[in-house]
């Protein structure tokens, strides 16, 4: 676990040094927000539409930088050193943690901003926070293994979205449902099905990735 932590800290330091992912994410988030805000105008939208738009914004923002974790290693030629120094499982866990933190930080900024722009009322903020957290873990879990795959393929940039989006559909469907409930102010129990789905998706995806990562990483 200490090794995974070291990989995470290395990525974090690197990120804070050049802020590539953060800048790209912020730019993407604001552009998408402006576009959505412009298209919607000042209409009051039903909760389900606001929820769907929120997750579209989050997804677009995530796509801008989640694939960076492995691409950077390939581009700077440091993948080999990392391969020698750390066990594959720890590399994966470190990268996953980095993506979860990155995505979580982004959601922390984008979601309130988006809800303010939409002038949406949040009925159950606690539930919303929980759905956002589990949704971000699900997004990061599937994106990290796809990022590892495309780092070893050609035409990487275009591939990431194409490969990741279909895999993320279950997360998006459950998260949109959960967010709708949260905006409507439903109690925690009403979103139980969605929460369970998000949690199980995250757990299964991370377990499968841990088992499979070695085959991608050492290929």
């Amino acid at each position: 676990m200490a090794e995974a932590g070291a990989v995470f800290l290395k990525d974090l330091q690197q990120e804070l040094r050049n802020r590539y992912a953060l800048n790209a994410m912020a730019l993407f988030a604001i552009t998408t927000l402006v576009v959505v805000g412009f298209a919607v105008g000042s209409q009051a939208l039903p909760a389900s539409v606001v929820a769907a738009l929120l997750w579209v914004v989050l997804l677009f923002t995530a796509v801008a930088s989640l694939s960076r974790v492995f691409l950077r290693e390939e581009e700077t030629g440091t993948a080999l050193a990392l391969r020698l120094a750390v066990e594959p499982e720890h590399v994966y866990l470190g990268k996953l943690l980095f993506n979860v933190v990155l995505l979580g930080a982004m959601a922390l900024v984008v979601a309130p901003l988006f809800l303010a722009v939409m002038q949406a009322r949040v009925g159950n903020p606690g539930l919303l926070a929980l759905v956002l957290l589990l949704g971000c873990i699900g997004l990061a879990a599937a994106s990290t293994i796809v990022a590892a795959i495309i780092a070893r393929a050609a035409a990487r940039g275009a591939l990431f979205g194409g490969l990741a989006f279909p895999l993320l559909l279950p997360v998006l469907i459950a998260a949109t449902g959960g967010t709708t409930r949260a905006l409507e102010g439903a109690p925690l129990g009403a979103a139980w099905a969605e929460l369970r789905l998000l949690l199980s998706f995250g757990v299964v995806m991370i377990t499968a990735s841990l088992l499979l990562f070695e085959h991608v990483w050492n290929e």
């Binding site: 393929a153 279909p166 895999l167 993320l168 559909l169 789905l197 085959h215």
Partner: protein, 224 residues
């Protein structure tokens, strides 16, 4: 020369059986009550087996992907692609026959019913698999990366096929076969149709595997 696909005897069985099923579906059984257009109930004999076999194809892709990663045997990779392609083909057939039925039964060929949404998402997942394969030139790396993707894709696949349509409210009938919602004569024709389509599936699958193996040999010769 090795026999490719099915042997002549099995080909005749497959053709005759399929012809029998088609005849039975349109002549042997009558229209069923409970449909907006009772004649449309016959789609069951074609739509449902094709959809089941699509899932079989996708599960086969997962199975052979696991086999490939364990042994690194190129034959497993060829079978994984062949299975995924079979799943994709049968999934397209299920989508089209479903849309046909939706137009008769629900009044619109496409209305974003959870089943329809999930089948399109399923097509996207495996289209991404083929895209990934085309993006990696080196055969061994292509096989390993796409095997990992096929295994990872199994989770969304199972979710889309088995969970989503049952969680979200759907117009699509569910569990008709298992819960015994069919009359006895429909049951017989249905399982006969399932057998016929399975045989057809095996035939195309084995042809596809043979093509894959020939391609591999050709590829090796051109490298020399």
């Amino acid at each position: 020369m090795e026999r490719i696909g099915l042997s002549t005897g099995w080909r005749i069985v497959c053709g005759a059986w399929m012809a029998g099923v088609i005849a039975a579906a349109f002549i042997g059984v009558g229209p069923a009550a409970g449909f907006r257009e009772p004649e449309a109930a016959r789609i069951l004999f074609f739509h449902v087996p094709v959809a089941w076999l699509a899932v079989l194809g996708f599960l086969g892709a997962t199975f052979h992907a696991v086999r490939y990663l364990r042994r690194r045997n190129p034959a497993a990779d060829i079978r994984a692609v062949a299975s995924a392609e079979m799943g994709f083909l049968f999934c397209v057939l299920a989508t089209l026959s479903g849309a046909l039925f939706a137009r008769v039964q629900w009044g619109a060929a496409w209305n974003w019913d959870p089943r329809q949404t999930s089948i399109v998402a399923l097509l996207l997942v495996y289209a991404a698999y083929f895209t990934l394969r085309s993006a990696v030139a080196e055969p061994e790396r292509r096989a390993a990366l796409s095997a990992v993707y096929a295994i990872v894709a199994t989770l969304p696949m199972l979710f889309l096929v088995f969970i989503l349509p049952r969680v979200v409210e759907s117009l699509h009938p569910a569990d008709t076969v298992r819960s015994g919602g069919m009359s006895p004569d429909y049951r017989v024709v249905f399982f006969a149709a399932l057998g016929a389509f399975t045989l057809l599936y095996l035939w195309i699958y084995r042809l596809r595997v043979a093509v894959g193996e020939l391609e591999r040999v050709a590829c090796r010769h051109s490298m020399k």
